[in-house]
Symmetry: C2
Subunit: 329 residues, 2 copies
Amino acid sequence: MRLNIAEVAKRAGVSTATVSRVLNNSPLVSRRTREKVLEVIKELGYVPNHVARSLRSKKTGLVATIIPYSADYVFNFPYFSIFIREVTKRLAEDGYHLLLTTEEPDDDPVRIYRTFLDRKIVDGFIILDLKENDERVKFLKDRMAKFVVVGRAKDCDDLPSVDTDNMSGAYKATSYLLDRGCRRVLFINGPKEHSVSIWRKEGYKAAYKKKGLKIEKSLILNGDFMETSGYELVKNFRGRFDAIFAASDLMAIGALKALKEMNRIVPVMGFDDIPQASMVTPTLSTIRQPIDRVGYEVADSIVSYLEKGEKISKVLDVELIIRESTEVD
Amino acid sequence: MRLNIAEVAKRAGVSTATVSRVLNNSPLVSRRTREKVLEVIKELGYVPNHVARSLRSKKTGLVATIIPYSADYVFNFPYFSIFIREVTKRLAEDGYHLLLTTEEPDDDPVRIYRTFLDRKIVDGFIILDLKENDERVKFLKDRMAKFVVVGRAKDCDDLPSVDTDNMSGAYKATSYLLDRGCRRVLFINGPKEHSVSIWRKEGYKAAYKKKGLKIEKSLILNGDFMETSGYELVKNFRGRFDAIFAASDLMAIGALKALKEMNRIVPVMGFDDIPQASMVTPTLSTIRQPIDRVGYEVADSIVSYLEKGEKISKVLDVELIIRESTEVD
DNA sequence: TTGTAGGCGTTATCAC
DNA sequence: GTGATAACGCCTACAA
């Protein structure tokens, strides 16, 4: 025997329309009818079929996050899992679920987005790893899709977004090093086109300006957030420097390794505050990002967008954490 | 204008049935008709609606993984992300997608499973963090749900499953320490009821037996896989020991910290080979688990189950990695 | 080889 | 307040 709305209706001696009304808390049902229907529902253990609802309502209750294939470091970022947990938790509060998937290599970066939109698999997207002139953003805008980005690109401030205050973070980090008397802070930034890199560079520069110091462009390098790139960039750097500020803890750790091999000691500052930061030797000074709140807020934002059409954007504060790596002398 | 199968049919001058046949590669379509239909499909940019298909076929193409709330360490396990990547990659090969979510705290552990089954949101499940007499397994079996477990419980060997050879791993680790002349290997196992803990304990014991040595039960402790538990267990241990084997790298790292504070040096072996293992000081000897293959195989298994009804189980080899932490003298 | 038509389970629009 | 009934978009007997 099929357990559907018709069966419930039959047993309760009402029409399917009435059952549906009860299910959707419509006020257009008398108290008595509602109670009777609820009783039957409970008795039969009836639960509405989500797919049928989706077909009717044209909403699947699914939000997709697609990890760019190039963005290995997203996965290597130990806090990624906390981010995911907070996202799914917030989504569930409104009955949404997270579809998580990865891009294929050598692939059109918007292929999966197109598939999900064409086949109407998801209601919205969360975009990670934002770049300037991001193809995905362009595509989704074009298709009038609903999405929220993590990060802020300068070319799309009309988008709902959640970001940490990368500029302020880089400013704090750099200022701290300058305050300690350092003058040539080697800045190992992330990839050039990434929105976080752009903001962090601004922060770095702002700190120099504030102190009235001249910025030396050759001190600004671009890594890929991974440990090896921090290691290599320091190892191969031919100029002078008296401190290092890396745009990720992993690169900072790589930098520390390189310094050790080169038998040099200078203050080193990271960014993120991943678990390793407090476990390596020396423990790493860094900028802590509230990754859990980023997860919560981005989920909150996409839900608001989907349910109420509200485009919410937030910038979250970051915190300077001083440990051993900057306290060398 | 709605773009659906009927519209395509109209434009191609055929019936919806024919279009459907073309879409599903039925041989019951003439070459000419097929080409014509495909042409129209291309021209209109028609793509079948996934939800409508799901309703008809009673398959959503979704596989759920639900992270137990208690299993924080799953998230703290840095390789979790690699696991997810491999899972989604393999699922996508057959058109499946991953629904990832977290349990709510203080909640019936099978609540989410029930919801997903009742509402028919997903086709199958991947179960992580398996325990003996696992409630979730019991529930899903009861409901005749399709699922694959990561791990092997002794009470359910009829389930499709993927596991690493935990027993062999623990055997290798313990044997290595015994071969070095250690006799009192403090074994910091995971939580008692976890299937991995049970297998690893077997391996530990087997190594002792093989050497004809007596097993000292007081040397076997239970932690929770996290760093602090390794630290505390060692710090508070009152017996004698001349080596440590921890069932996770994180606990091994905690143990190393405790030893350092206690001014003691003994060989320490971990389990997992997480990234930190090669970054801490001293670098950590450990048992490497092929987490990427676990991801691939578990996805492969659930797809085979869903598509062909085949229950596939696999046990994957692990590898002994010797670094500095065991080479102390 | 192709078409007709019913049904998957729900919701929304009408009437009553 | 409540009940028929027609969609939503697709697939599949069954008939032709």
